[in-house]
Subunit: 388 residues, 2 copies
């Protein structure tokens, strides 16, 4: 008896959920059925398209209100947000920053921009994100505290921060992670790029980190074309984040003075205009995505050797990117499923290549990554647009 | 007899050129009277707003065609363009990069992003940009060539590149500068952020540098909201620029592999859509700006102690930002002019604070900056929108 599926069964299950389609169905397709056109037209009519304008302020205020953080700073994209989060958390050249091996490359790149070194940690299967228990055991082994700072005993480098990523919108188990961060004097920064609309124990993701990074790329739950945001409850850091992402210019009627090396990371007003319209529709998008996830869950419930990934305990996920997990025994069929589904015009995708396997990060320190490696072999993302 | 003006005369001359106005007249106001709405609506209707889309390709192709370079790569802004130009030119941590002291802070910031050190050079009054003659004399004094590389005798650091900036759209005297670059093995990168539509000896700015950076910020001759571009005649560098600004992802049907630390610098499709519409109107904008400059030139022709800055010999400028220069003897009246004009609702602005005077660059090496310092004291920018 073979408790196993074949690729055609997966395709049939997907087709039972997805609408009939003649064109290629992508993983994500944004929807602009709200006030996008109205707000964008207002920008064009008034000439306020660029670095200053009311939609940037409004987008920042509404984002802060929705997520329950004190300050949101709109920037050009999630990568820029991560970069500034790390800088403002005090990450310096030569520091190590703990990040999951299973993440999008932006997390690791942002560490590199600071001249710091990524240090890879394993994931847990229940959240797809950083495993707090395994991390604790690992730090007890390799870390030592000197002058209220954490050092890697093996490399001698300071471990300044950790950047858990809420994978595909599913919240990491933040409580035990924060406990470990406090005990080891490691700063928590949330990579919430994928988790707008996701809640951990009733709190929106991004609330617990000293700073958090969000993304509004075209493939995200809401989009601004390209865009991101830095969120923080620390007023001082919030001010500094605004200052450093807008070339660190000192306010003056006409003088051009800057007091630090700043960045040109501000979100243009026209992109923020789209963001404001999208935020209005976020509750509707979340309902639609949850509904889609439930339909997937039912469609895959009785296929042996594979299951639909559901939100972790204590969390309410945005189901940004829907995920199938093959059993370890059926992982060998992953590529057949990818081929059959993509050939049939339904986009599916494996997990990102683990960061430790990319050439530029191959020499970075790493803990045992057994679970991330297993997830990498077994994971398939499937179409997730709210309009489905 | 006092061959001098008073601030009221300057205000009167400005008012003689500018339209009657009830609101504050900014230095720049973009104009969206072409196909902007049409193209943006197409993005929203088709869902192609983000990192991939036909307007990005079209904007890049049309920009390359207009400027006469082989390859243009659209990015999020001019600062990002400068950063990548420097990286691809081989600027490394600890190198020195020659830049004018009289420039916008982005030029110096981009050098810092590479871990390199800005080295300030003086400007000449005829172009407002790098003085090639003074630079040559300076390099003959401080530079030595070892293994076909240029070193600063005093600091021991390699001088890898120079980034002349075409100030307010007026082309630097590129020919003698290139000769000096060749003799001293220094790579030329053009900061053409302000000079779209400006030609040096019949060639569009940005053609001579190994790589060049353009900006389409809201205040530029054409705008994409926020945006910039890298231009190069080197096909290999062009390909690499596209690769590194789009997270260095290797093309594959579904795999996510990246082969270097990349950046998320791509211009969103919706911003490129605006850019395409703006490019169509560029010839019209240039005529309007030239006309405005001629009217200013006449209005200030007979006022003693001040003159309107006209394009350098051998160049055709875009007159991006119109400029008044006070005589050294009347420089003391600059702040009175700034106050009277801004109080009257006409925005005017002095030169940027020289880079060597900003705290974060105060310890950078510098040649004598007598001309830049004089220009800083004497320069006033006046409203320059094409719609005036």
């Amino acid at each position: 008896m073979n408790a196993n599926f074949n690729a055609q069964q997966i395709l049939d299950a997907l087709n039972s959920v997805l609408p009939e389609h003649h064109e290629f169905l992508p993983l994500h397709e944004p929807s602009f059925r709200g006030n996008e056109w109205h707000y964008v037209k207002e920008c064009l009519d008034t000439g306020w398209v660029s670095s200053v304008g009311k939609f940037v302020d409004r987008f920042e205020e509404e984002l802060a209100a929705y997520t329950g953080v004190k300050r949101a700073i709109a920037v050009v994209n999630g990568t820029a947000a991560l970069h500034i989060c790390l800088m403002l958390a005090g990450v310096k050249g030569g520091d190590e920053v703990l990040i999951p091996a299973l993440t999008f490359v932006a997390t690791a790149n942002a560490v590199s921009y600071c001249g710091a070194i990524a240090h890879f940690v394993d994931s847990e299967e229940s959240t797809l994100g950083v495993d707090p228990g395994k991390l604790l055991t690992y730090l007890e082994d390799i870390a030592e505290i000197r002058n209220a700072e954490c050092y890697n005993r093996h490399t001698g480098r300071r471990i300044k921060a950790i950047v858990p990523m809420h994978t595909f919108g599913h919240p990491v188990d933040l409580d035990p992670l924060m406990e470990t961060c406090q005990r080891f004097h490691i700063t928590l920064i949330e990579d919430a790029a994928e988790s707008l609309g996701s809640f951990y124990k009733g709190c929106h993701t991004g609330q617990r980190g000293l700073l958090s990074a969000f993304s509004f790329n075209g493939n995200k739950t809401i989009t601004t074309g390209g865009g991101g945001a830095i969120l923080t409850n620390n007023e001082e850091l919030g001010k500094l984040a605004k200052h450093i992402t807008t070339t660190a210019k000192l306010p003056h009627r006409w003088e051009f003075n800057h007091d630090m090396v700043g960045y040109n990371y501000r979100m243009p007003n026209i992109n923020a205009a789209i963001g404001c319209a999208q935020l209005e529709q976020l509750p509707h998008f979340l309902v639609a995505k949850r509904n889609l996830a439930e339909r997937y869950s039912r469609a895959f419930a009785h296929i042996p050797g594979i299951h639909f990934f559901s939100e972790p305990a204590n969390s309410r996920s945005n189901y940004w990117l829907n995920t199938l997990l093959l059993d370890e025994e059926t992982a060998g069929q992953r590529d057949a499923v990818l081929a059959v589904t993509n050939d049939a015009g339904i986009m599916t995708r494996p997990a990102w290549t683990l960061m430790n396997k990319l050439s530029m990060f191959a020499s970075c320190p790493s803990m045992d990554l057994a679970v991330a490696e297993s997830l990498e072999r077994r994971l398939i993302n499937i179409p997730s647009s709210a309009i489905l």
